[in-house]
Symmetry: C2
Subunit: 329 residues, 2 copies
């Protein structure tokens, strides 16, 4: 027994050392990522507007990013910080991360294999394939596709590009926050959709408490909501209209401590509210946002998030890989 | 004969005095318009990108404007500088100007009647009606709708809001140029779609020679191209994919001298090039541009406009009132 305790302590110390070593996404690493990826990604614009609130709202139009979502930021940052093996890269994805990895692989001259779940819509499959990547159906859910991709990775030796739970991916996504602060200084609340938490984790790490970070998820994909309630990442239901982009099932282990510290609220919205937000973004802005891309706006438009007086609200519109026929009548 | 000459001279002098009096759109009036309309219009964002050219290109995303095109700028400026009669406002329009006038009328609390030609697509009719305006089919072409609207105007006493040939409308549209210069200083070439010439006239008046203003029109609607060739506004063919937004038939009399002075090239593009540009804006940017909104980009993408070395090219993407089903497969 006496022998056990030092061993146990050592184990805990090792885990913390490991975490300290691994969790390297902060303002500094995000700034470094921004410089690293700047030749490869778009600095997306912001738009001041009124959106279901008397307060002015600033939209970050990240849906105009390459590959139709914020995901190339993390994918490029990951692939630019690691030697790429001859076997190329491999990823599991509901679609957007896969498209981003495929896009980055093409630009950087390596092959890519993307494992997708059954829910991945046709528009995203086509987009991944358009970059020349190999697309593999890898099960019913993202979690299953991830397992399948890891079996395959062990065979090929390709570099795994995780969709969210890697510090370089998180630092890459954090560049959204950096640009947002640059272009719209003084925001008090930032509304961000959460799936596995790569985007909100990166943005929260950038703002680091200088603005309230508000997580928004569909009621049918309450990943971060459930994790914060449980005090740790837990398996959450995956379903509904945005499952392909926000159906990670479990919050990332690296982003979770950041979320505990810096995410002030985890709001849930209905699928109907998401559809209404998509419709509103089209009617009023002529923007085609996919369900996951409209989730943050839905919190404001549905009244689930009510800005306090004098709030200056930012909303990240983070994905556009939808079939417009599902939005515009 | 001797009596005639002074009379003739006097007539010419009167015409010039009248023109001097009327042509009041310049940087000063555009700056005043910008201040006047700022509570009512969006300052639309710019986006740096690569677009069919080695040179960097900056897009002015004016398609994100209220009512889906740049037109509210001119409509609001016109309606904010003139007392609005109880009979409200009346306009002829291929659709976008009508939607803008209807939108402004609703905001400013007056009624609106909009006369449209047969070519106005369903998406634009619906948009006009959504603002509560009365929509009237006024003939086959914009020119016929204009005549019909003037007959009706004589009955009702409503204020005519011309789609382009009025100094307040031109000054309003010129605010696009002002914002563009503000947000993307140092552009050497600005590509702008031309219909009646309100947008390009305003933008050319703003830049006033400090950047080359390049007019782009469909081959089937060569309004300004033909006018510059003839040395005066002339009736031009109206047809093809962008006729509803660019089918004015004849360049505005007020913008024409500005165009002669400041428009360096009048480029024509095919309808196929316009369709390809629409597709490219969707594939690469997730932007839904209507044909008229994609015409300027088409000049660059089709190679009809080749930027000289070291050019810094700006492209105004000016309208989004399209049915996405016609663009995204």
């Amino acid at each position: 027994m006496a022998l056990e305790r030092p061993k146990g302590k050592q184990l805990v110390a090792d885990v913390f050392a490991c975490q300290r070593q691994r969790v390297m996404f902060d303002r500094k690493s995000i700034a470094a990522a921004a410089e690293r990826i700047s030749p490869y990604v778009r600095h997306t614009p912001v738009l001041q507007c009124a959106l279901g609130s008397d307060s002015p709202v600033t939209l970050k139009l990240e849906l105009l990013q390459y590959a139709g979502s914020f995901k190339p930021r993390g994918a490029f940052n990951r692939m630019l910080t690691t030697p790429l093996p001859a076997a190329g890269v491999i990823a599991a994805s509901g679609g957007n991360h896969g498209a981003a990895v495929a896009c980055a692989a093409r630009v950087l001259g390596v092959v890519a294999e993307i494992f997708v779940p059954a829910a991945t819509p046709q528009a995203k499959l086509a987009r991944i394939a358009s970059y020349g990547a190999r697309v593999v159906r890898g099960g019913e859910t993202y979690a299953e596709a991830l397992v399948a991709s890891r079996v395959r990775q062990a065979e090929t030796g390709a570099l795994e590009i995780h969709a969210y739970d890697h510090e370089d991916v998180l630092a890459g996504q954090g560049t959204v926050g950096r640009e947002f602060e640059q272009d719209a200084p003084g925001l008090t609340h930032i509304l961000v959709a959460t799936g596995g938490g790569g985007l909100i984790g990166g943005i929260a790490a950038w703002y680091a408490g200088s603005a309230e970070i508000v997580s928004v998820e569909p009621e049918l994909c309450p990943t971060l909501h459930d994790a914060l309630k449980a005090g740790q990442p837990v398996a959450a239901p995956v379903g509904g209209i945005a499952a392909d982009s926000l159906g990670a099932r479990q919050a990332g282990s690296l982003m979770f401590p950041i979320a505990q510290r810096f995410v002030s609220q985890a709001i849930l919205v209905t699928d109907d509210a998401v559809r209404a937000a998509q419709r509103r973004l089209w009617d009023d802005f002529r923007l085609i946002a996919e369900p996951g891309g409209a989730v943050a706006a839905a919190a404001l438009l549905s009244g689930r998030f009510v800005p306090p007086p004098n709030a200056r609200v930012g909303v990240v519109v983070c994905g556009a890989n939808a079939d417009p026929a599902t939005i515009a009548a």
